[in-house]
Subunit: 296 residues, 2 copies
Amino acid sequence: MLMVSEGNPSMVEGDRIQEVLREYLPNHRDIPEKLVEAMSYSLFAGGKRLRPSLVFAGAQAVGVDPDKVRPLAAAVEFVHTYSLIHDDLPALDNDDFRRGKPTCHRVFGEDIAIMAGDALLTEAFSIISRDQECTDLSAHRNLLDAMGQALGARGMVGGQVRDLMASQEFSQEDLEAVHSGKTGALIAFCMSAAAIAFAKPQAVITAIKEFGLEVGLAFQIIDDVIDETGTLEEIGKNPGSDRSGNKLTYTVLMSTTEATELAERTFVSASHQLASVALDPEPLMAVAHLMVHRRA
Amino acid sequence: MLMVSEGNPSMVEGDRIQEVLREYLPNHRDIPEKLVEAMSYSLFAGGKRLRPSLVFAGAQAVGVDPDKVRPLAAAVEFVHTYSLIHDDLPALDNDDFRRGKPTCHRVFGEDIAIMAGDALLTEAFSIISRDQECTDLSAHRNLLDAMGQALGARGMVGGQVRDLMASQEFSQEDLEAVHSGKTGALIAFCMSAAAIAFAKPQAVITAIKEFGLEVGLAFQIIDDVIDETGTLEEIGKNPGSDRSGNKLTYTVLMSTTEATELAERTFVSASHQLASVALDPEPLMAVAHLMVHRRA
C-alpha cells in the first residue's frame, strides 16, 4: 500500500511521514522554544524519509498494519536526524550545508545543535517506549535493545568513530566495517523493527536484518558512485567532494563502473536472504531496489 | 544495607558501584578501542556515584532487593557521564578540567568526546531494555518513558538549553526551571526508578518523584554555596568561579547564608512528601541528608 500505491507513491508516502513526524515532535510548553525550533528545523529540512519508508515496508512484509508502526517510523527519522546534526558539527565533518540548507549548528550555534541532537536521540527512545504497541514484554525489550545495538558503540556511533579514525591506507574490509556501523545497522533495524515488535519468528527477523545490512552496503556504494558521477544540481554539492575531502570511499578503491557492479552483486546477494522465510519480500525488495538504483 | 552499612559506607558503596559500571561497560570486539577508552575514561574519572546510590536507596525504600536494580544503577551513571562530557565541550561550558582531571575532549578530541557521550546515552537505554528486570510490559514502558522524560527536551537537555540561553536578568523562578531540568529530573528519576520498574502504587512513585525534585533543588543550591565558600582543595576549582563565569547561581540572587537557609527549608519540605505513603523513608532520607549537608 505505502510503497506501491499508484500515482505518485513517493509524494503520498512523504506526506504521510511529515504528518507522523509532526505528531511526535515534542511540543510541551515546558520545552525551551529554541530547542524545539532547532529539532524541528533539522527534522523538516527535506530528507528522503528513507528510514520511515523502510519501517513501513518491513511491516507490510510481515503482515503488520503500517498504522501500527507509526511511532517507530517517527523514532527512526528522529534518530537519523540526530546523527546528521552531530556528524555535521565542526569537530566532525564540519559541513555548512546539507541538502542545500545551512546545517543546524550554522543556524542555531554549535551548543544548541549538540543539544538538539541529544534531545532527538532521547525522544526517539521515549516515543518507542511510550507509544509503540508491542505484543509482550520480551518483544518490547527486544525492540529497544535492537535499536540500542543499531545506534550505539557497536552500531552507528562505532561506525562514525571508525570513520573519524581511519587512515588513508584502508582496505575494502575496513570500509565495510565503517558503513555497516554508520549506515547498515540502522537500515537493518528499520526493516526488521515491525517483525521484532510483533514477535515474528527469529528466522524471519534474522533474514530481514541480513538483507538490510547488505542493502545498506549497496546503498552506500551507490552513494559513493553518485558523489563522483552526479551533477551539482542532482547531489547538492560538488561532484567528487567526498573523495577529495579525504573521506574513505569505494571510488578510491575501484572505478565507478566496478563499484556499480559491486553494488548490484551485493543487492542480488541480499535478495536471496528473503527467499526462504515466511514473509512477503515484495515491499522490502521495492524500496531496496529504489535505494540501489537511484541517481541522486 | 547499602547506604547505612557500618564502617566506611561510602567506600563499600563506591566499590560496589565501580564493579557494576565495569560489568555494563560494552566490551565487544566490534567496538573501536578508542571509543571504549573515551567512555571508560570519563566513567571512571572519580565521581561521587550519587545517582547509582539514589537508585539503590530508592529500591530499599520500596522493599526491592538492591541487586535487582544493578542495571538501572549502571545506566544512570552512564547517563550522568554523557551529560558531563557534552556539557564540558568547548561549545558549551568549555571546561578543561573536571575533578582535577582533563575533560574527555581534552584527552580524546572533541569529535571522539561527542561520540563517547552519544554512545553512553544510547548504551544506558540498551542496558535497561536488555537487562533491567521489570514485572510487566507496562512497567517496562513506564520505566523507559520516565527515563526519556527525565533526560529529554523537557528534562536534562531542556534545562541545559535554558541555562545556555539565560540572560543575566533572571529570577529565582528561572533558576529553578534550569535546575529542575538539568539536575532535578534525573535525581527524581533515580530515586523513583525501582518503584516504577517493580510497579509500586502510583502514589508512591509520585511522592518519591516530588521528593527527588525538591532534594535536587536543595542539592543545587548547596552546590552554589559551596562554589563560594569551599576552598580550592575541597572543590577542585577556584572559589566563586561559577558566579564570576556569569553562570546563573543562587549566590547572585542572595547571600550564602540565605541560600543555605533556603536549601534547608527545601529539604524539610521535601521530607514531608514521603510522610503519607507506604514506603520506608529512611534510605532516601539518609542519602538526601548527605546531599544537602555536604561540604564539597
